[in-house]
Amino acid sequence: MDQTGIVLISHSTKIVEGIKDLIRQVNSDVPIELAGGTDDGDIGTSIEKIQAAIDNAHSPKGVLLIFDIGSAKMNAEMAVEMSEYDQIEIADVPIVEGAYVAAVESGMGKSVAEITETLKKNFG
């Protein structure tokens, strides 16, 4: 079964790794790709890392991007603008709780549009 991919974008590699560990407790197979830190692994974000994560996480059900603060959002928006995919969304939600809900939904076979809807309901 295809599942919506999830891309976690944070200034810190540790933040996204930690969130992935947390999610793997409830779901072992939803595609989760990480874009944490700069190209050198320092604090910051990298558009190239985000683009690579989108390519790896993408499925026919789509791909959802969740970010932490500041430049992560701007780089996510730019990556989406440059991307070839139609089914691609950015969710403006708290990164830990949002990713958790998104993973559960994706595991149930929901599309990226459906997951985005659920996140809006849960997080306003």
Partner: protein
């Protein structure tokens, strides 16, 4: 007067020099109201711009600016990457199709850059961001018919200095609110460096 690819290249290389020289100063400004990485990020980004454009032969201005934009987007790391990247990308797009940049197209390009920055950063004028230099500069250029080095320099400087008394509403400094008053906005200082080096190039070319 028109700016040729060679002059646009010179502009960016001179800007890089300023970013290297003022790395610590920019960082100290950012430590006061932000996360303290602005100087390092700008110096790293523009060093990469230099590495990219210096050995390349360009036949039109748009390509120099596009390479600059793409490099800043991928190499800076902080919010300055997508922001300055967007500004140069919009400028590049506005100048597409001509070898050199005439004044009118360049002025339109700075306007497009200002609009692009507003969209990318979801910010308005007066919120203590780099927009507070780019938009007044766009406004000023629109009212002119020709490049004038002295005026570009003084407009950029007064716009940059005006950010000191503003209270930050965007970016990391927004967490400080009124405590950000009394400090220059680092992104505006970097933007001032870009326009002051542009002014120098213009003065040389006249």
């Amino acid at each position: 007067m028109e700016l040729q690819p060679r002059e646009i290249k010179q502009w960016l290389l001179q800007a890089n020099q300023l970013f290297q020289e003022n790395k610590d100063y920019l960082t100290s400004l950012d430590q006061a109201i932000g996360d303290g990485d602005h100087g390092i990020n700008m110096a790293r980004g523009f060093q990469e711009v230099k590495n990219k454009i210096e050995p390349t032969e360009y036949t039109n201005v748009s390509d120099v600016l596009k390479d600059t934009a793409m490099t800043l987007m991928s190499k800076v790391g902080g919010a300055s990457g997508p922001l300055f990247g967007t500004a140069f990308l919009k400028l590049s797009t506005s100048l597409k199709g001509a070898d050199n940049a005439d004044f009118q197209h360049f002025a339109e390009g700075i306007s497009a850059a200002g609009e692009g920055l507003k969209q990318r950063g979801k910010a308005e004028q007066g919120e203590k961001t780099m927009i507070d230099v780019w938009l007044p500069m766009a406004e000023f250029l629109k009212s002119q018919n020709e490049f004038s080095g002295d005026e570009i320099e003084s407009k950029a400087k007064s716009a940059m200095e005006a950010t000191k008394d503003m209270s930050a509403k965007k970016g990391r400094a927004a967490y400080l609110g009124d405590r950000s008053v009394g400090h220059l906005d680092p992104g505006s200082v970097s933007s001032y460096y870009l326009f002051s080096t542009l002014a120098e190039i213009v003065k040389k070319g006249v």
